[in-house]
């Protein structure tokens, strides 16, 4: 199995643990189908004025959803390796915040009838692999990965905030508030990563640049596919 090839872990058990975590990730996403149907009491996003705006908004929401989904899987991978170590509770806390973000975007996507990206299975596996392999480099590796990803995501959210402010600051107030809140939390994760000595990783700049390139590619693809 490819898991065994990539993950240099001792023992059959660890591989089985990883395999189960992978499956849990796939099954967990099915729970999001069972959202209550008529529980919306307010609309976060105003109806778009024309088809261009609609397409733009759909792309934005799609890529945000994909980003949170990927972040979830990255933390899941990190937890699979470092879950029982000293940094376990910290990573778990950051993962819980990401789960909240994903839940919010699931609601927004369902409400606005936006198509989720078709590359979700790829982000599922790739995210988990990234998290697990960075955690295998130790705590510094996991933190470096966190710093790189959170920096990418914050930059991305900032450009979205700018775009929405240009379009219609008043109309998109609700969505802007959500994105700002999420961006602040991602920045918090970024700062936490730096505090936890992410930069002490040998080859930190290389790893960071590589991960950020991957994130940029993922963002570009998710907006379109």
């Amino acid at each position: 199995m490819y898991v065994l090839n990539f993950v240099k872990m001792r023992g059959f058990t660890s591989a089985v643990i990883l395999f189960r975590q992978l499956n849990k990730g796939i099954n967990r996403s099915k729970l999001t189908e069972c959202l209550p149907r008529y529980s919306r009491s307010y609309a976060v996003i105003p109806p778009p004025r024309n088809s261009e705006e609609k397409a733009l908004l759909a792309a934005m929401l799609r890529v945000d959803h994909a980003g949170e989904y990927g972040a979830n899987r990255i933390y899941a991978g990190q937890m699979a390796v470092l879950g029982r170590s000293q940094s376990g509770p910290l990573i778990q806390h950051m993962w819980d915040q990401e789960k909240r973000h994903l839940q919010k975007f699931n609601e927004i996507l369902a409400e606005n009838r936006v198509r989720p990206t078709a590359l979700l299975p790829i982000w599922n596996v790739a995210g988990f692999m990234l998290g697990a392999s960075s955690a295998l480099l130790g705590k510094a590796g996991a933190m470096a990965c966190t710093v790189a990803v959170e920096e990418s995501i914050s930059e991305h959210y900032n450009s979205q905030i700018r775009a929405l402010m240009e379009l219609d600051p008043e109309g998109y107030r609700g969505l802007l508030q959500i994105i700002k809140e999420f961006r602040d939390e991602e920045m918090e994760h970024h700062d936490t990563g730096l505090d936890q000595e992410a930069e002490s990783l040998p080859g930190y700049q290389l790893v960071k640049t590589a991960i950020q390139l991957g994130c940029k590619a993922a963002i570009y693809l998710s907006e379109r596919v």
């Binding site: 059959f12 058990t13 089985v16 643990i17 395999f19 189960r20 499956n23 099954n27 996403s29 099915k30 999001t32 189908e33 959202l35 149907r37 008529y38 959803h65 975007f105 699931n106 996507l109 369902a110 009838r113 198509r115 989720p116 078709a118 979700l120 299975p121």
Partner: protein, 364 residues
């Protein structure tokens, strides 16, 4: 923009007339229309002199075109009284005729042309200035006109098939010259796509209405399988009046230049049906559900083409069976996933037991 549009329609009409002369034997009709247009121009010339302070050449051309449409409208609507020859009288007649048509271009044009008709509608602009039109409710856009022609053309599909002739016949019922089919560069494709879009809109309205009733508590939400079955059946029943010619329509839809549009219609339809069925998924299920329903819909449509049972009973039975298949497959997939997880857990348990027995399970 309006001037350009009218100039375009006029030149297109001329082009279309010239192009179709060989095919549709309208040369005599075109000649007659040209003569009538010439007569109308002379009569209109007298009005144009009084009309605007700056009669531009494009305005005259517009008036020329309007007059041409007007004359044909005249002839078709009022064959008995077309013998009268005074320009004011004819303009007045044409104006009073389509009172029931609402947003008819000829009304606007007639009132724009005639000084005598000014008293009918006080806010109508009777000069050639400020004819921007977009803000005026009476003005009809080209898209709206095209839609009206295509809707009228649907009545002639059983007779002419999905062809330009049907569109021409439809245009003639609205009192427009059949040269206005030149507006439809995609020809029969435009007609079929318009019909498909129209059916989709109808279905969406029906589903939205049902959804509203459910939300108000006046009706029960149907089970997914039943909902899908009813939605697909309702949608396919809209094809029954055109069943004889539907194979021709389907072949038009799969022509390469029509494929993007027909796929767009199909995907919107599937998305709407699933949305109203209650699907709010945001993962791969979004895609698998729509793909499954597209498969069901397309195969049922094909079965319907060669179904000769009373009220297409065989088709609905086929539809039932296909939906049942998908439901069974989804159930089986769930079972497989559950089994797989159970197997993995079993293996895990066996591994832990082994490690305990051999003493390797030490925590460091």
């Amino acid at each position: 923009m309006t001037l350009k549009r009218h100039a375009y329609v006029w030149s297109h009409a001329i082009y279309a007339v010239n192009k179709r002369n060989a095919k549709f034997q309208l040369d005599m009709a075109a000649l007659l229309r040209g003569l009538k247009a010439g007569r109308a121009l002379r009569s209109l010339g007298s009005v144009a002199v009084q009309a605007a302070a700056n009669p531009q050449s494009s305005n005259i051309r517009r008036g020329f075109h309007r007059a041409a449409l007007l004359r044909v409208h005249d002839e078709s609507k009022n064959p008995a009284s077309s013998s009268s020859s005074t320009p004011h009288h004819e303009h007045y007649q044409a104006h009073s005729l389509p009172a029931d048509e609402g947003t008819s271009t000829s009304t606007h044009e007639a009132s724009a042309g005639g000084a005598a008709t000014g008293q009918e509608d006080p806010q109508v602009n009777t000069s050639y200035q400020d004819q921007g039109g977009e803000q005026n409710e009476d003005y009809e856009t080209e898209e709206q006109l095209a839609e009206r022609i295509l809707t009228a053309a649907l009545d002639f599909v059983p007779q002419h098939g999905w062809t330009i002739e049907a569109i021409a016949a439809g245009a003639e019922t609205l009192g427009l010259s059949s040269a206005s089919t030149g507006m439809f560069i995609n020809g029969a494709g435009d007609l079929v796509l318009h019909f498909v879009g129209h059916c989709n809109t109808q279905l969406t309205e029906i589903l939205a209405d049902q959804h509203k009733h459910v939300q108000l508590g006046q009706a029960e939400q149907k089970k997914t399988a039943e909902f899908l079955r009813d939605a697909v059946e309702t949608r396919l029943r809209m094809y029954i009046p055109y069943m004889d010619t539907w194979p021709q329509a389907m072949s038009i839809l799969i022509l390469p230049h029509n494929i993007p549009h027909s796929l767009k219609h199909l995907s919107t339809l599937m998305d709407d049906i699933w949305y109203y069925a209650g699907d709010r998924s945001t993962d791969m299920n979004w895609y698998t559900k729509r793909a499954a329903l597209t498969g069901i819909y397309n195969t049922t449509e094909l079965v319907m083409l060669q179904d000769s049972s009373p009220d297409f009973q065989d088709t609905w039975t086929f539809l039932d069976n296909r939906i049942q298949d998908v439901v069974n497959m989804a159930g089986t997939a769930k079972q497989v996933a559950a089994t797989g997880e159970a197997v993995a857990q079993g293996l895990m348990g066996a591994a832990v037991t082994l490690k305990n027995m051999t003493g390797l399970n030490q925590r460091r």
